[in-house]
Structure formats: C-alpha cells, structure tokens
Amino acid sequence: MSIQRPSTPPTARPGPLSRRRLLQGSAALAAGAAGAGTLASCGGAQAPAGATEIDYWLWDALQLPAYSAAIDLFMEQNPDIFVRVTQLGWDDYWTKLTASFVAEAGPDAFADHLARFPEFVSLGVVAPLDGLGPLDDVPAEQFQEGLQELWTGQDGKRYGIPKDYDTIAILYDKNMLTEAGLTPEDLEGLDWNPEDGGTFEQILARLTVDANGVRGDEDGFDAGEVVCHGMGGSDGIDYVGQTAWSPFAFSTGWTFTDEETWGRRFNYDDERFIATIDWFFGLVDKGFFPPFGKFGESSPKQAQLQAGSSALALDGSWMISTYANMDGLDLGIAPLPSGPIGHPMSMFNGLGDSISAQSEKKEEAARLIAFLASDEAQRVIGERAPFFPATDVGTKAAVDSFAAEGLDVTPFTDRVANGETGLYPLVENSASIMSIMQTAFDQRWMGQIEGADFASFNDRVNALFE
C-alpha cells in the first residue's frame, strides 16, 4: 500500500513542544527543496563588496518564497545591505536558535513565535525595538488591531514587529456534505453551547457515520464503530487548543488568564472552561470526535478529510492552501459556530520579526524588518502568501489571491474585522505550562480524568508565577 501524505507541507505552527511533526517535517523538507531556487537567489549569492551582511532566519517553508521575494526587493533598494536568508524546520529552528545565542553566533533578525518570545525577553536575547533605526516610524495602527500588543513586553517596549496573523475557521469537504444531505448554507450561522452542543453538534451528528452506514443522528448508531467522525482530531491537543477547544471556550466568555497579555493566573479551573472541555472530549463517547491515538501524526486532519475518516475540521488560516491542494478534496470554508456570548470567537495569533540583542548590525536589521512591514513589501508578500500578512494591504492582497483560486477565505478574516477574537496566551513559563498541561489534556482525552480535575493542574501552573 502506498502511504498517503499531504501533497503540500502543513505549516509547522504547533505549540513549542508539541509532538514531533516528523512526517510533516519530511514534507516540509520537500517543499524546502522546491523553494531552494528562491533561496539560492538570496542565500547562495555572494555579498557585493562593501555591503553589510545580515542574517535572517525563518522556519516556515511555505513563507520562504514570499519573504525571499520581498527581501530581494529590499536588497535592490538598499544595495549597502546583503541579507542571508536561512530556513530551518520548526523543531530544529528553536534548538539551533538557542544554541546560536549561547555561542553568540545567532541571526541578526529572525521570525519569532509568541510561545517563545517571553522566554527570550527574560533571557535578554531579543533587543527592544524602540529607537532602532526606522522602526519608530512603524505605527501599531498599521497592523490588524491587537497584533502589536502581542509583541509588546511587560516593560511596554516592542520586541517584535508583526509579520502575519492567523485565525480559525471550519474546513470541510463539499462532497461529504452532499452525501450527508447537507448544503454549505447549513454550515453558516451555527450556534453552540456547552450543554447540548447546539446546532453545531447536530451537524456533527449528521456527518458522523458508523460501520453499518448509520449516521450519528439516526437510530441504531454505534458510537464504538465509527468510520467517519463528524469532526477531525489531530494527534495531540495542547494547553492552547488553538485549533481544537479554544474557539468554544472563548465563545463562553472564558479567557486564558487574568490579563489580556502577560497574565499571571490561569483559568483552567473556571466552570466555563470545565463545561467546554467536558463537552469537547465528551464528543469522543458519542463517536463524533476520534478517540485519543486513533489518528497519529501520519494522519493529520487534512488527511482525515481526504480519506473520508472525518468530515470537517477546525483549522488555522495557515493551513488553507494545504487543504486546498489535497487531491480529491473539494474544499469549503465555513465560519465557527457562535457561542453563548452571541457570536463566534477565534484565537488570534501572529508571528513577528525580532532582532537579536547580540547583533552588531541592529540598525541594518531594523531597516530590513521595517521594510518587511511596509505596504510595498506586504503587498509583495500577500500576493505570494498562503497566509495573511499583518497589515490591511497585505491581508487584502492575500484575500484577493485566494479569491482568484476560487476560495472565499472571509470566514477567517471576518473574525478580525468583527473583533471576534481572543489572543494567543502571551505568558512567561510557556514551556513549563505546556509540559504540565499536556498530561492533563492527554488524560482528559483518554477519559481518565474529568474537566473538574484540571483545577489541580491549574494550581501547578499558577505556582510557576509565584
């Protein structure tokens, strides 16, 4: 038998220590090779005499072509600077970055993630950007609302310039919807609540099919022998639950911490969270969501949709082109269901560009990342990007380019336009929180503990801040 594999690499943007994306990594490697032509135009060439060489690192192979194009344009306009671009896979990226900081041989500027940058700030390896070259002329208003806030430290200084953002929506295969007797319109305007799951759960029930072909909302349905789950699940669900439980929890009015950013008290013991998590993992018993371990890393959600073993999936905007390129999958995009607070809620996360505190070429690096945030660069990136650049101009370019491929991505962008977003938890100690909470989420998924048992884990997390 041949092993199915996503035809394009899913962007590795899981939490910091989430289970290794080996298979995705190998796919990303293939994409890296595909992008090597572009890479060579920057990385392989020699710096012209007299130009200052700076290093720029990023991990996302899907972003490489877009950023290479923008950086080529930058070097054209700034012949005194030569940028060496390096792309590394997600796992290696952070290991190598840390090692290079210890060896004081890191990049001058690099793509940064919210789960990592608080640690870097407290270790003193990322430079505050205020007062650096042209960066003071990059106003926070230029970006989607709230993005710059995510990259601002507890001291009020900026440690990153937003480069893109992502939100969550429902992705599904239109063919499977038709088989279930549903239309794409049926997925618009769904509602959800933690008690009975609302119309959203009814849709999941309709889409779930057991071994005898009985659907989840029909008599005689066997939840133990499901061949197609209503909602797909990945191989691990972490403390952020970005593409899993977080949209539901947010839509009850729940927040991760006591503060919008830099919170010091987590709310995993809140009754709204407990109700949400019990509903979410309760779907396993109903057969609507796969049990723990059923789908390993070889079968990510897009592969489940393709194989027909799951009908719809909650996933991030960075995955749109991955789903769209799956053979035999007629991709549809629907908004998240609205929750008890009356509207849908999506997690709002974004990557940023940071500058190393060790760099001796901060001015030049600042000029580069200021350029990457400019309208001109954002348009270049947006046109090539399978993701949403951080500014309005860039987002519009990306939405247009998706529309040209026949994909309406507004279920993703509407969340931002309507202000229906909750921020990615920007906190200290994220690696420790990750490792404490992973046990809790694994055990809840396996049905060994209840949502109420999260309180003791929450205490351990909060103890990190004392």
Partner: protein, 304 residues
C-alpha cells in the same frame, strides 16, 4: 634476520626504560586530553551546575541543594524513574533471552559467516532511523503491522498512543535493534568454551538442553554478566527512540528520565535542575553497576 633481532634485544636495558616512559606518555597523551576534555571536565561542571540555577544565557547562580530538594518532591521525576525501570526490565529481559538463543543457535547450528554477520544487520541501522521506520510500521491508521492485525481479525492497536503499549513498544523496537549486537558479544563468549567439554558430556549421554544448562550457561557467566552490565547502562539511557516517536506521551507514559532531563534543559532552560536529574541518573547507574558486578561475580571465571 636472527642477528638483527638479537642485536635489538640485547640493546642496553637502562636506555630502553627511559625511552619507554617518554613514549608511553606521548601515546597516552591524546587519550588523556580526550578523557579530561570530554569526560572529566563535563562531569565536574555538570555536578557543579546541579547546585546552581542556570539558563545558559545568564551566569549560573549557586542555590545549594535546592535542585535536589525539588527533585525529591517532583512527582514527574518519580514517575519518569518508574517508567525508565519498566523499560529497562522489558528491554533487557527480552533482549538477553533472545540474544542468548541467537548466540547458541549461531554456535551450534551454522558455520556460515554470512548468516552470522546477517544477525548484526539491525545494529547497522541508526536508532533514529529504526524508530522512524517502526513509527510508520506501527501507525494506527496506515501502519502495515496494524493492517496485518486487521487482516487476521484484530482491532488496530495504537502502539504509540496507548499508555499500556507505549513502553513495551519502545522496548521491543530497541530489542530488535540491539539483539544482534548482544548476540555477537555472547557468541564470542561461547567460542571461548572448550569444545572437549561438550564432547565429554555427550559421551556421557547429555542432551542439548543439559549441555546448555550444565556447561554453556555456567561457563558463559562472566561474559553474560559483562554484557548485562553494558546493556543495562545503555538501556537506562534510552532517549532517541522516544524523542523521535512519542516525546514522552501519552500523558507521562513514556517520559523516561533522559527525556525529562532533555525537556528541562532544552525546552525550559532549567539546566541546573536538568543537571541535578543527570547526577541522579549517574548515581543510579553506579549503584546498579556495582551491585551487579558484585552479585554476578563477573571478575571470575569457572573455567580456571
């Protein structure tokens, strides 16, 4: 020729002694430098770091026994110890029996060098490659082994994602990789047993089983003890297979000590605490090794 040899042999002994010392030092020097730089120095600094709070990017701060106190109160540490011991028991138990059987078969049944070297083949595959291959083979959805299970009428098993299966799975994957090597070591031990003992026993009417129990096993004891000491030390240090496949999950079911050390150091930047955990592992290994050495009387042979 003879004269030449004689003349070198009859060179003045005093001068030769002096030469020897210098030469010996010269020969020892590379190894000594290596030992000091790559073993003794890291060991000492590691022990020092275990008494500090250290993030690698900021200088270490002395905290006394704080890391050790935290370690003894850390449930994850005790759990990882339990998981590691379970792994070692399964890994070493199965591996030693399988390797012994292979070694005896190699000695008694075949003289073919090809067959004998073939046994070593899995050892030529790197741990990481072996882990990735088995990750695929045992995959719940697409793994060929699970497809086979379904074909003969069983439900697929989530080998990597079940708390019950994950440690036995990792242990057996590593048995597969190491059994040939272990068998080869034991085979070398078997070769040292004089053939006339078997002949004598067979004349007395002893069968294969009796030969094995009465001659092979007792005379193999020193080698077996040595092999056990080596493999147990290696087994306690299991890391790569787990790092590649489960990263310690599900929950904490495969979070072995080395994995926990790695996560503390390289994910959470707690190099001080990670060093304390490493020192604990060092102490455990020392105790295990010395106990074993003493129990099995590994220094003596029954042949003498």
């Amino acid at each position: 020729m003879t004269t030449a040899t004689t003349s070198t042999r009859s060179a003045p002994p005093r001068r030769r002694k002096k030469d020897d010392t210098k030469l010996a030092l010269l020969f020892i020097a590379p190894a000594t430098v290596g030992l000091l730089a790559f073993l003794v120095w890291p060991l000492l600094t590691g022990i020092y770091y275990s008494f500090t709070e250290y993030t690698t990017l900021t200088p270490p701060q002395w905290v006394g026994f704080e890391n050790y106190q935290a370690m003894f109160a850390d449930p994850v540490f005790w759990n990882s110890l339990k998981v590691t011991v379970l792994y070692v028991l399964i890994n070493i138990g199965v591996q030693t029996v399988v390797a012994l059987v292979i070694a005896v078969l190699m000695q008694r049944l075949t003289q073919s060098t090809l067959l004998r070297s073939l046994v070593l083949a899995p050892y030529l595959v790197s741990n990481v490659v072996a882990a990735i291959v088995f990750l695929w083979i045992l995959d719940t959805q697409l793994g060929i082994f699970n497809i086979f299970l379904q074909w003969i009428g069983f439900d697929p098993i989530a080998f990597w994602a079940s708390e019950t299966w994950v440690i036995p799975t990792v242990a057996l994957v590593n048995v597969w990789r190491h059994m040939g090597y272990t068998a080869l070591l034991l085979f070398a031990g078997l070769q040292a047993i004089p053939g006339h003992l078997y002949e004598a026993a067979r004349t007395e009417g002893a069968g294969e089983i009796t030969l094995f129990r009465r001659i092979t096993l007792p005379l193999l004891r020193p080698i077996l003890a040595l092999v056990l000491i080596m493999t147990i030390i290696g087994s306690f240090q299991v890391f790569d297979t787990i790092s590649v496949t489960t990263q310690g999950g599900p929950a904490d079911a495969s979070r072995v000590l080395q994995m926990y050390i790695y996560q503390n150091a390289f994910a959470e930047y707690q190099f001080g605490y990670a060093s304390a955990l490493s020192v604990a592992l060092l102490v455990i290994l020392m105790v295990v090794t010395f106990t074993q050495y003493w129990l099995t009387n590994a220094g003596k042979s029954d042949l003498d």
